[in-house]
């Protein structure tokens, strides 16, 4: 991705399922569709396996956004993994929103193995959204606590 | 000038890795800093805190004898995060060590006596240090008897050394495995350690018994020794409790008012009688 040094390049981690979205992202490549390179893909057997802590840890370690994507409803390789995941994300989003964590930085999607173009759009749209939002320093700076002087616990 | 930070480990190079039994390894460690190596001494029975950088610290005894200079050895079983991290290290890599900590076996006082070593399973390492210490100064001691048992033949550690001890004319070596743990070609004893001690019936006359093993083995071995005529001050063991600091501060290892890391790990049975058994 060409950009001048002033443009903020978001760091994005994508947690995807092996059976649909990973294959879809693969298809994007083999179809020679161009899309933003800001995404680091982490492959999981199923969206049902994606623990909410992975998302929090991504932010703590410098991600500006997270993509979570798997099979469309009724297409799960394990029948109901994505339904369980969907419930988890409903609850997780609600908790994060209550805590004041920026839920716009988590993008959920269903991308099937046939949707190479959708994957490219998803990534491109997320990158442009996050570029507009800017880096997630609000969260990241809190991670560096031990270096701070002071013992009264103030962040 | 500035004192040393107690928690800062010495950097050690893993000089040699020996696979002892499934999940059990021995590391031979050498100091990377010559000054630290020169200033380092320890005695039989002491322990240390071993670091896998990236994982944390774990407590094991120093398994080599103080008579073997220039290195220390530790033997551990892979059970958790730290031992898992250590286990993945190869020869030549760096790990950390701090110590030596704790008290020691009174080897000086034992001069001129018979020594009876009774060990079970992964508890041989602390005793191996004493055994080699005694064998390297063989003229100081009379009869040396070693009774060592493990669950299965596979679980016996220091196999080549067991053989060496067996072949020495000046050592009486008895190896045993739990019933069912033997292989078709097993030539040693079959039975639990306390049973074998009773069968071997070593004389208590002028003898020190050093017992080390899982709590259940110790529990059943003590009465056998008593029956053979060993009094409490003739029996020694080494205890372990969970530790973090190794230097009497973190608050984990105490048994009653005693700290295993400072007042132990070596205790005579006479001393054990004074502390609450439920806390170790």
């Amino acid at each position: 991705m060409m950009s001048d040094s002033n443009t903020f390049e978001p760091k994005i981690v994508a947690f995807v399922c092996n059976w649909c979205t990973y294959a879809g992202a693969d298809l994007t490549g083999t179809s020679r569709l161009k899309y933003a390179t800001n995404v680091k893909i982490v492959r999981f057997p199923c969206t049902g396996r994606i623990d909410f802590l992975f998302l929090l840890k991504s932010f703590a370690q410098g991600a500006d956004a997270v993509i979570v994507s798997g099979c469309h409803p009724n297409d799960c390789h394990y029948t109901s993994g994505n339904f369980h995941a969907r419930r988890r994300w409903i609850a997780f989003r609600a908790i994060l929103d209550l805590m004041g964590i920026d839920v716009r930085r988590i993008q959920f999607s269903w991308v099937s193995a046939a949707e190479g173009a959708k994957w490219a759009d998803l990534v491109n749209n997320t990158v442009s959204d996050i570029r507009a939002l800017g880096p997630y320093t609000e969260y990241q700076k809190v991670a560096e606590y031990l270096e701070k002087e002071g013992f009264d616990g103030e962040a | 000038m500035s004192e040393r930070n107690t928690y800062l480990p010495y950097l050690m190079t893993i000089d040699k890795v020996i696979k002892e039994a499934p999940g059990v390894k021995t590391f031979r460690l050498k100091f990377q800093n010559e000054e630290e190596a020169a200033g380092f001494t320890f005695q039989a029975g002491q322990f240390g805190e071993y670091s896998a950088f990236g994982e944390g610290e774990s407590t094991f005894c120093i398994a080599s004898s103080p008579t073997r200079k220039g290195y220390i050895e530790c033997t551990f079983r892979e059970t958790g995060r730290v031992t898992g991290g250590l286990s993945s290290l190869e020869e030549g890599s760096t790990m950390g060590f701090r110590g030596p900590y704790g008290n020691t076996f009174p080897m000086e006082e034992w001069k001129g006596k018979n020594l009876l070593f009774i060990a079970g399973g992964i508890a041989l390492p602390p005793m191996r240090c004493v055994i080699w210490n005694a064998l390297d100064l063989r003229e100081n001691f009379k009869d040396v008897t070693i009774i060592y048992g493990a669950k299965t033949v596979n679980d016996l550690v220091y196999k080549s050394e067991l053989k060496e001890w067996e072949e020495r004319p000046d050592v009486r070596m008895i190896t045993t495995v739990d019933p069912g743990g033997e292989t078709p070609d097993w030539k040693g004893e079959i039975g639990f350690v306390p049973t074998i001690v009773e069968k071997v019936a070593p004389s208590a006359e002028n003898t020190i018994a050093i017992v080390c093993g899982p709590p259940i083995m110790i529990k059943f071995t003590f009465p056998v020794l008593a029956k053979l005529g060993f009094t409490d001050e003739m029996i020694y063991t080494t205890l372990e409790n969970r530790m973090k600091c190794g230097v009497g501060k973190c608050g984990r290892c105490n048994v009653g008012k005693l700290y295993i890391c400072k007042d132990g790990p070596v205790f005579s049975k006479e001393q054990l009688n004074l502390i609450p058994a439920e806390e170790y």
Binding site: F52, F83, L96, F108, S109, A155 | G80
Partner: protein, 266 residues
């Protein structure tokens, strides 16, 4: 209250139960009390000041053993007990409930269904304190909420009183004590504290009965109970359950519906 004492004494005397978990007068206010003989029953009290959620003790094997026991349970405790039944943590035949309604009438409840029927008479409502703080939070922007909670979380020193006081935190080894991998730093630090509390809230989704024990227990006064309470209030209609009235159909996160809301999924 007198009737409850008499009944507890009788149950202990005739051997129906070997223990009554109840309340006694403490140094400042009533506190949990383990009544094992009928003469001790005169110390039992049961009034509106009894706020501890005694359900936290009923899963502790070292306390309750295998013998039948009774619990003098206010409504909040009953809600937790129902949830513990749903999670198969209790045996109906081992436990007997003694409770009294606001008018002072004594009730004896012996099964999930009896407790459910009794609890259904009471609506789970925000108290004054909950209303005040939640109203404040609901009026905040996202950035203000983040600052609010960050400031609160910075006070946490990970004594885990919240976890210990919660009847539904009955795991013998908590996720923060697992170290392969170590997901949440075991030391107190603002972000690690935040992660811990988010984690706790996630593990409470559809399980929390809003008894408030965690917030009450917090020595540094973080209103952590409001996280799980708000969660329960907001998600109950979404997942189709009645707040504070656990049903046997399974927990929110271990079940799903084909038509669960998904407008946030692109």
């Amino acid at each position: 209250m007198e009737k409850l004492r008499e009944r507890a004494a009788a149950l202990l005397a005739d051997g129906t139960v070997s223990l009554v978990i109840g309340f006694e007068e403490g140094t400042k206010r009533p506190r949990p009390f383990f009544c094992r003989t009928s003469d001790q029953a005169s110390k039992l009290i049961f009034d509106s000041r009894c706020f501890h959620n005694l359900a936290v003790y009923v899963t502790k094997k070292e306390l309750v053993g295998k013998e039948p026991f009774a619990v003098t349970a206010p409504i909040a405790t009953l809600r937790s007990i129902l949830q513990l039944y749903v999670e198969n943590q209790l045996k109906e035949e081992q436990m007997l409930i003694l409770t009294a309604d606001p008018a002072g009438e004594l009730f004896e409840l012996r099964s999930f269904d009896e407790i459910s029927a009794y609890v259904a008479n009471f609506e789970l409502k925000r108290g004054e304190r909950e209303e005040e703080i939640l109203h404040k939070i609901e009026g905040m922007t996202r950035e203000e909420r983040w600052q609010f909670w960050l400031n609160e979380m910075s006070q946490c020193f990970k004594c885990y009183a919240c976890r210990s006081a919660c009847p539904l935190c009955y795991c013998t080894k908590c996720v923060v004590e697992v170290n392969r991998p170590q997901w949440i730093h075991p030391w107190p630090a603002p972000l690690a504290n935040m992660e811990w509390h988010i984690n706790r809230a996630m593990h409470m989704v559809g399980r929390c009965t809003a008894c408030g024990a965690c917030g009450e227990a917090c020595p540094v006064g973080i209103p952590i109970d409001l996280i799980t309470r708000k969660m329960m209030e907001d998600l109950a209609p979404e997942f189709g359950y009645i707040p504070g009235l656990p049903a046997r159909q399974g927990n929110a996160l271990s079940s799903w519906r084909l038509d669960d809301r998904e407008q946030f999924i692109r």
